[in-house]
C-alpha cells in the first residue's frame, strides 16, 4: 500500500522537477545569473586619473576618454601611452571592481613595452548603464572601434588582453575584429564551461540557451593571432588546468606561462614575473 501511495506521488514529483528545471534555466533566470557574475564598483571620473598618476613617469601621456557603446551608453576609458610606436594593449578587466583597480597590471604592461587602453564595461567605474553578458562584448567592440577611429591606432598594433572574465571578452573580440595578438590571464575555457563547473545543474540545459564568452572556440581549429596564456599556480577562482586546456586546444602560435605563486588577481609581488612574461611575448611578435 505504501508503494502504491509512493507511486501516486510520481507525477507530482516529476512536475516539481520540471518546474524547478525551467525556473533555473538561463532563458528564465539570466538576470539572476548576471547578478551572480558581475560585481561592479562605481567611481568618480575626477579620481580616475589620480589612480594612474604614479605611472606617469613610465609613459608619455595619460588621458581619460569617453566614448559611446552600441546602445548609446557612455563608457569611460583611460589611455596610457608609452610611446606612439608601441603596440597598444586593449585591456578587458575581470568581473569585479573597475579599471582603477588595475594599476599593477597597467604598470606591468607599460614596463613590458606596451601602451595600455583600459575601459570600464557598462555599470563599472564611471561608465553608464548596467552590465550584461552580451553587453560586455559590445563594450569591448566599442572600445576597439574608438582606438582605431579616434586614436588612429592601426589594428596591426592592437593586442587584446583579457583578465579573468575579460578573457572571454577579449576572445570574442578577436573573433570579430583583426588583432595583433591575444593575451589571456587567469581565464577560463568558456563562460558556459565555468557555469557548468560552478552550478552543476546548468549541464541540463542546451548550449543554445546560454549567452557565451568562449575562449576555446576563438583559438580552436582556426587561424588566430599569436596567443599568450598566463595563469597562476595559486589561482583559487580558476584552476590552472583551465589554462593548460586552452593551450592544448589552441592551434596556432601559442605560449603558456604558469607563474608560481600568482593568485587570481595580480599583486605587487607578481609584477616582475608578469613583466618578464609580457616582455618575452612582445619581443616574439
Amino acid at each position: 500500500m505504501t508503494t502504491s501511495k509512493q507511486r501516486f506521488t510520481w507525477p507530482y514529483q516529476l512536475a516539481l522537477v520540471v518546474i524547478v528545471w525551467l525556473a533555473l534555466s538561463p532563458l528564465v533566470a539570466l538576470p539572476l545569473y548576471q547578478r551572480l557574475l558581475f560585481f561592479p564598483e562605481v567611481c568618480q571620473a575626477e579620481s580616475l586619473v589620480s589612480h594612474f598618476e604614479p605611472l606617469s613617469k613610465l609613459c608619455s601621456s595619460i588621458k581619460t576618454v569617453n566614448f559611446k557603446s552600441t546602445n548609446n551608453s557612455q563608457l569611460t576609458g583611460c589611455f596610457l601611452v608609452l610611446n606612439p610606436s608601441a603596440p597598444v594593449v586593449l585591456l578587458s578587466h575581470g568581473n569585479a571592481g573597475n579599471l582603477s583597480h588595475r594599476t599593477i597590471l597597467a604598470e606591468a604592461l607599460l614596463r613590458a613595452g606596451f601602451s595600455v587602453f583600459l575601459y570600464d564595461y557598462q555599470g563599472y567605474g564611471c561608465s553608464q548603464g548596467r552590465p550584461s553578458i552580451r553587453g560586455v562584448v559590445d563594450d569591448a567592440l566599442s572600445a576597439y572601434d574608438y582606438l582605431l577611429t579616434t586614436e588612429q591606432v592601426p589594428s596591426s598594433k592592437v593586442v587584446v588582453y583579457g583578465e579573468s572574465l575579460g578573457c572571454g571578452v577579449a576572445a570574442e573580440l578577436s573573433k570579430l575584429r583583426p588583432v595583433r595578438a591575444i593575451v589571456l590571464q587567469s581565464g577560463f575555457p568558456s563562460l558556459m564551461w565555468a557555469a557548468h563547473d560552478r552550478l552543476w545543474f546548468t549541464w541540463l540545459y542546451p548550449q543554445s540557451w546560454f549567452p557565451d564568452l568562449d575562449c576555446v572556440s576563438a583559438v580552436r581549429n582556426k587561424v588566430h593571432a599569436p596567443l599568450l596564456i598566463i595563469h597562476g599556480t595559486e589561482d583559487a577562482a580558476f584552476s590552472v588546468s583551465y589554462a593548460r586546456l586552452i593551450f592544448e586546444k589552441a592551434s596556432e602560435q601559442k605560449r603558456l606561462v604558469i607563474i608560481k605563486g600568482l593568485k587570481h588577481n595580480v599583486d605587487w609581488n607578481d609584477l616582475a614575473k608578469l613583466q618578464t612574461a609580457l616582455t618575452d611575448f612582445r619581443l616574439s611578435l
Binding site: 509512493q6 563547473d197 549541464w203 584552476s239
Partner: protein, 110 residues
C-alpha cells in the same frame, strides 16, 4: 546432566539489507547527502598544504577527487534504486551530479 545444544542466532545486517529496509524517501535522501558530499570532494584542490574549493579542478584530479568520483558513482546507484522504488526527489539531483561529472570528463577528452 544433559547439555543443551548451543543456539547461535545470526542476524544478517549487511549494508545491502539495511538499505533495502529503508523507505524509498530515506534512501533518496541518503543518496543525495552522499552525492553532495562526494561532489564537494570532487571539487577540492590542494594548494600549498591548504584545501580550496575550486570547481573544475578535477580536470587534473588529485587522490581526493578520484575517491570522491567513486563515492559519487555509488550514490548514483543508491539514487537509481530510490527512484526505482518510487521516490524521485531528491534522488534525481544526485544523478545530475553524475551527469555533470561525466559530461565534463567527456568534454575534456573530446
Amino acid at each position: 546432566m544433559s547439555e543443551e545444544p548451543l543456539r547461535v542466532e545470526i542476524k544478517e545486517e549487511s549494508i545491502q539489507v539495511m538499505l533495502a529496509s529503508m523507505s524509498a524517501g530515506r534512501l533518496g535522501t541518503l543518496a543525495f547527502n552522499l552525492g553532495a558530499i562526494a561532489w564537494i570532494g570532487l571539487n577540492l584542490n590542494f594548494q600549498n598544504f591548504s584545501v580550496v574549493y575550486q570547481p573544475g579542478c578535477y580536470i587534473s584530479p588529485n587522490v581526493l577527487n578520484v575517491l570522491s568520483a567513486f563515492v559519487l558513482l555509488y550514490s548514483g546507484y543508491l539514487a537509481a534504486w530510490a527512484i526505482y522504488r518510487g521516490s524521485l526527489f531528491p534522488a534525481i539531483i544526485t544523478l545530475t551530479f553524475i551527469y555533470s561529472m561525466v559530461a565534463t570528463l567527456i568534454r575534456i577528452f573530446l
